[in-house]
Every structure is written in structure tokens, then in C-alpha cells.
Symmetry: C2
């Protein structure tokens, strides 16, 4: 009996969230095509982590798109003159990169269309990152509406869907789900300023959220700290 | 008396349409920031044309973003194994590049946000290119809705606007308007397969539409043909 395997593009940063999403897409039966971006981020060891996670996570293919956003400044993640904050801030965080998710989702959309896929998985989370405008559910719904009008597959009736399965999950829930699915979090890198070996600083916003997640889930934290 | 000059990002391909849009944005009093894309298009002399048009058209800055979409295939404009058609076709043309305008507009949005601009000008045209899903007014309206939710400026009340001033104009009207504004069309390149010197083939879809435009407008065609 032949079964049609549906393809999905999975946005994979190399961090904890997207590694979990990759495992969830695979469990749902998709053939996964992992997509990462080399956009001048400080934490470049993220990309090494993404390659490992894609391989171990059974992705059919892993592509890294190089996109230089450093010249544009305005974010602590791409502008090396702005310090990464180590305490929670109110409003939109300085680690926000202008239109980043819109750019990434657009490129995922293009690859999906080329593959003949209508499913895109992304690891946005509205609980921990509610300060980012482009992580909110209403933004994602608007992107999906736009995407259906933008593409040949959309025009021909293919229902492009942006799946964000962890959007309302706490970090503890995400870690529990990933652990159930066999994700090895030791190979993921979440730190905003990990060193070249992928060792985490342990004090930035991202490290703090991750640490609290393992603690709240009652699971050992396998993160490799510097 | 000081006057606040509003900034606008103008998408500039180097072709006839976007050169006209640049002149229109400037006439409306915007300080223009021209944005071009090096995406592996066949017609690379377009980029040389864009640089000339930006300079002569008074753009404050001209940026070229390199983005390699050739590996993705699927379009006659980026896949050198697919021939450029020389006769009108029905449906979505083979020159359609998956999600191209969505990717380009997303990058324009990022630059606008970095500049503190809320205005983006683009040369989409629904008359000549109704076959492209991402040139249609309903697509563009959906993109604008998404963009207002995606960005810090949108969240803070800035009304991001995607201006498409030539969307309903015929090629003849576009040429007449640009001529009134002093656009030198001899320095623009529209041809899908122009040679390295920017000389046009004269027979592709784009050349045909351009030629008919000058003819219908009763204006001499300054295009440099091979």
C-alpha cells in the first residue's frame, strides 16, 4: 500500500523550540525540510546546532540561507554595538530584529512552493516572547492569509498553512513534549551569546527562560554552560 | 522654516515600471531609499540599470541585497534550464518566481523599519501582470495588513503603507507619466534576457509589453535593442 508522504518546511534555528517543532512535525507524519538562516546573528554556533538537530531529527534536507542583515542595525542580535540584555525588559525587546520572522517565513514560503508543499512549521511562542510583534497569533494569521493570496499553490486552491504548534505552550510544556519525542536538548543552542563551541552564557534572557523551563518541568537541564 | 522630509523605501528593479515609481515617489516629496535584489536573475544588466536609475533619480541611498534563489528552480527567470517564453501564455506565467514579491516586500519592510520609514513604494502592475498572484491588489492589501501587525512601528501606531501607484495604469499611461517626470527610459532594462551590455532581445513578453506601451503612448521607444 502506497502512502503519500506530505512535505513540510520546518524553520530550524538550532534552539530548543524549533528542535521540538521539528520532532512534532515528524511525529505528524511529514517529510521534513529544515530551513535555517545565516543572518549575521551573534550566536553563530546556533547554525552548527541546527545542522546536528536536522540530521538527528531525520530531516530529508537542511538548507541554510545566507542573508546579511548586519548592515541594518537596530537589534542587539545583529548589531554588535548593542549589548544583549541580561534582565527582563518591558515593551519590545532590543533583541527584536526588524521584520525578521516576515523575511524568514517568506523564504520558507518560497521553498514550500518549489517543493510542492503547503505546510510550514515554525517555533514562534507567544508566552515567552509576547514582546515580539511578529510572534503574536494575529500576526501569524495575517501572514497565512497573505501567503494564500501570494502563491501559485494558494491561487490553485492549495491551503498554505503556517503551523505554530508550540505558540501557546510554556517552556516547561515544550521541554516535556520534546523529551517525550526523544529530542536531545544537549545538542541545541538557545543562548543569545553562546561561544564558538556552543557553550551558553547562562544569564541572557534566552538562557534564563530555558533554565526555568527545565526546572519547572522537573527535568534535568542538559544545557552545556560556559 | 524646517520641513520634515518623509523617507520611503522604493523597490527598484532597473526596469521601466520601478524607474517611473521612483520618480513618482520623489515628486510626492519623499526622500527615497532605493532597494534592489540580486537573486540570480538571468537579466543581470537590470542591476546595472538600477544603479544608474537610482543615481539619476536622486535616491538618497541605493542598496542591493544578494539573495540566491537559483537553487530553488521553478521559474524561467532563475532556472537557466527553463526557456523564457516569447509569446503570451495563459494562467500563471513560467517567469513567475515563487513568493518573490513577498520576499522582496519583507526585506523592504525591514529596511523601512530600520530607517524609521512607514512608506514603501513598489511597481506592481495588475494590468500587464495579472497572471502573477503576487501582483494583485488583494494580495497587496493582505501584505499591508500583515506588515502593520509584524513591526514595531505598526504596533506603535505607525501606519505602514505599501504604495503601488502604477498598479492600475496601462504601460502607455506609465510611460506618459514617467516622461512627464523626466525619466530617461534609455537607461532602464526591462528585457527578461538582456545581454551583458543591457541590450534587449525585443521578443520576450516584457519587451513586447514595453514596445507596445511606447507605441500606444505615441512616444519614441528609446530601448536599446540587440
Amino acid at each position: 500500500m502506497n502512502k503519500v508522504i506530505k512535505k513540510a518546511v520546518v524553520m530550524l534555528s538550532g534552539g530548543l523550540d524549533s528542535a521540538t517543532v521539528l520532532a512534532m512535525a515528524r511525529e505528524q507524519g511529514y517529510a521534513t525540510y529544515a530551513l535555517s538562516f545565516d543572518y549575521g546573528q551573534r550566536h553563530r554556533s546556533e547554525l552548527d546546532a541546527a545542522a546536528r538537530v536536522a540530521k538527528v531529527g531525520g530531516a530529508h534536507e537542511h538548507r541554510v540561507i545566507k542573508l546579511d542583515l548586519t548592515g541594518w542595525g537596530g537589534s542587539a542580535l545583529t548589531d554588535h554595538n548593542i549589548a544583549v540584555p541580561t534582565a527582563p525588559t518591558s515593551g519590545i525587546p532590543i533583541t527584536y530584529v526588524p521584520a525578521r520572522n516576515t523575511i524568514f517565513l517568506s523564504l520558507a514560503l518560497a521553498w514550500a512552493e518549489t517543493l510542492g508543499a503547503v505546510d510550514i512549521f515554525a517555533g514562534m511562542n507567544a508566552v515567552d516572547y509576547s514582546g515580539y510583534p511578529d510572534c503574536r497569533p494575529d500576526y501569524l494569521a495575517a501572514f497565512q492569509t497573505m501567503a494564500r493570496l501570494a502563491t501559485k499553490s494558494g491561487v490553485e486552491g492549495g491551503e498554505i498553512t503556517i503551523h505554530t504548534p508550540i505558540i501557546k505552550m510554556s517552556k516547561a510544556d515544550i521541554v516535556r513534549e520534546g523529551t517525550r519525542l526523544g529530542v536531545d536538548y544537549a545538542m541545541t543552542v538557545s543562548c543569545y551569546q553562546a561561544n564558538a563551541d556552543g557553550l551558553a552564557c547562562g544569564i541572557c534572557d534566552s538562557c534564563r527562560l530555558r533554565k526555568e523551563g527545565f526546572h519547572a518541568a522537573g527535568l534535568p537541564d542538559p544545557t552545556r554552560y560556559a
